[in-house]
Symmetry: C2
């Protein structure tokens, strides 16, 4: 089977000038690749009719499929329609598409607004092109051929583009007989990407089937498994399971699981509840837990004890502990975790206190020093661990919050391992 | 003065395949534009020697400046060096750059690691090229000319690329006699982008000097002011000030200010302290406040009162209020705000309770319904307002947290206005 070649063209001054970050290229590219196409190039050009037409001509000459996004609005700087018309109809007058016009009129009528005359431009199409309906906005897409290349022009806003791409482009662009493809992702936290790669070893060899790769984002290192061919979903899931075992206990879940959702799942399975007392993370752990819909059945809430006064009055850290050991100490976080647990009536307590920077470093406690404690009310045990997280303030805080969730998860599961950035 | 044309080439399978989102293109583009160049195109190609060389040749033919990122690592799929050599030296054998080799050896020695033989590839350069030192990694950059175009090849990791770009590329690429350029950004929250544009009116006309535009990100609508020519910084600042006045009271600050830092500045100026009682935002407001370094002098901490039990036990919401009006009500958030304020000994209290979704909607309270209260302990007044935030769970929560910060800021400043998404 010949694998069709695809290219992606993003159109817009704001993209070329760097005002807006293009994410459509990535979305379309991933989906086309999964459908079995070979994506060879992205290009981004300005709202310039000649530049758009030149890029389309150039890409169409070397590819079988071309997907463009942007430039289909109603204003003078929306020129994708005209550029496509230059290429596939020699710039001849365009025709009004009745369905597009009806959709536009219905769109404005449904919002109780009068349609401006310029919006009628959006109902125009090259004679050789087909209009694609846009349920989420005013700009219809266009489908046409440029030489031997099939081209689709879609609007720029992702929430309009994605449904049109999925319903119209993807089914048509998918090569007949392309092997089925299935993906599975395993999230891990607490080991470096190179250590993980070392553990996975030969599984990551190029051209292995299923393919295994790693990516890192927000300090979470993910294992990506892609299987192709017969029985792909089962083989992808099995390979992901094998990778997760290899990455244990750092692997926290597959496909869309977050550290927070993984912890909440462990709580739910064990009929446990979890609370937090956050100092340097200042609400981030609570924010991560409550980002998960349905978290309320395991998370009653918690405390942002940023000041020493609140650490004492709210979660019962003795003033002598603060005076003797400081707010960033094993003793303080242990007291915070146990105190929050008791006060919330929860069975698991998480506490964090540290120096997120850029200021605040003291002798023996550089910026990035964070103590994290987990208190298990079912055993009465509390364990505090010290970290030195590298990075600026926001990275230190994010890493600390995620480390706390991972340690709490391990406590429930009876697992343990050294976490990267942990200091004895 | 002729404005030089620039193009950006990003190199890497992971970028074309959509596994990684390219941000270098935007970074380089913005900086080149501010330096006075006309950026005309971005291109992204795979780790393929012929494809890289073809893109370089093509872009160099139409541009004066070409900046590439990526493909300078030590492995077989790092081919930028070879592609550049094909173009500017006909593929003749490359030479080893003594400074690059010394830097590589020092890099590994400084980390107590042996240098692998393959790393020596990174010390090679085309005979006609100049190596650019990389203080943050192992990959030196390369500078060369392709025909009449000056080309720079930089490594892909942003933390390595950006310093090299700023120290080596930017000073050399900046056209002599380019007008000085100054930027100023005004953040606004609570009005739609089109309403803001309407208020700014003729100030947003194309080709006006200073130029005024708007962009939206994370529901914050920013006004971008760009002045060029003599006295640009003063004129940009004055124009931004004028725009901020027009956008009052929605404008909360300039250049890097967040809603949280703006609120903390108001607190500091008035010797006020602020606390929070968060239900549906679950710690996000605390997280935003403590994202600001130095927030501890105005923010002692607060409560994540996710359950009704904690709303009662911690911030004193009477059980009858919850029973009669529900957790998502004016009465409940008013009691939360006043209770948190009293308990924390703060002079300003913020409370949020709502239905973030996707579940939880009840008759008369659709998903997105959020009540926000601000209690001013200096006057004893509490004001609660109702919102219907559109969007999925994360967007509803983010919008609610930001609305709460804006309302608190207005309370301190004695300002008021309707907020978008507010429902009487």
């Amino acid at each position: 089977m010949i694998v069709p070649r695809a290219a992606i063209l993003s159109i817009g001054d704001e993209l070329v000038l760097g005002t807006t970050l293009d994410t459509n290229g990535r979305t379309v590219s991933e989906a086309l690749r999964e459908a079995g196409l070979d994506v060879v190039e992205h290009r981004t050009v300005r709202d310039d009719r000649a530049a758009i037409a030149a890029a389309m001509r150039d890409l169409a000459a070397s590819c079988d499929v071309l997907v463009s996004t942007g430039g289909l609005g109603p204003t003078d700087d929306d020129l994708t329609r005209d550029a496509l018309n230059d290429l596939c109809d020699g710039g001849a007058p365009m025709v009004e598409d009745p369905q597009s016009r009806a959709d536009l009129e219905a769109w404005f009528a449904g919002r109780g607004r009068a349609m401006a005359a310029i919006n009628l431009r959006q109902a125009m199409r090259p004679r050789g092109a087909r209009a694609i309906r846009n349920p989420g906005g005013t700009a219809p897409g266009l489908a046409a051929t440029i030489g031997a290349c099939r081209a689709w022009c879609l609007p720029g806003p992702p929430r309009e583009m994605v449904p049109m791409f999925e319903s119209d482009v993807l089914p048509a662009a998918r090569p007949a007989g392309a092997p089925a493809l299935a993906k599975c992702t395993v999230g891990t936290y607490g080991m470096g990407e190179s250590s993980l790669a070392q553990r996975l070893g030969a599984r990551m060899a190029r051209d292995r089937e299923p393919a295994v790769g790693t990516t890192a984002s927000g300090s979470v290192v993910s294992i990506q498994v892609v299987a192709r061919g017969p029985d792909a979903p089962r083989r992808a899931a099995e390979e992901a399971q094998a990778c997760a075992s290899i990455a244990a206990p750092y692997a926290f879940g597959t496909d869309g699981a977050s550290l927070a959702s993984a912890l909440l799942d462990e709580c739910r399975a064990r009929r446990r509840t979890v609370t937090v007392a956050e100092s340097c993370t200042g609400g981030l752990i609570g924010g991560m837990l409550t980002a998960v819909a349905g978290s309320s059945d395991c998370f009653p809430g918690g405390w942002i004890t940023y000041s020493n006064a609140l650490k004492t009055s709210e979660v019962g850290v003795a003033p002598e502990v603060l005076a003797r050991h400081g707010a960033v100490s094993a003793e303080t976080v242990a007291a915070m975790a146990a105190g929050a647990c008791a006060r919330a009536g929860a069975t698991l307590g998480i506490a964090v206190s540290g120096i997120a920077g850029p200021g605040g470093a003291v002798e023996g406690k550089p910026v990035g020093t964070v103590w994290i404690a987990v208190h298990d009310a079912s055993t009465g045990e509390t364990r505090a661990r010290r970290f030195e997280f590298p990075g600026p303030r926001d990275v230190v805080r994010d890493r600390a919050a995620k480390a706390a969730l991972q340690l709490a998860r391990w406590t429930l599961r009876g697992e343990d391992a050294p976490l990267i950035w942990e200091r004895a």
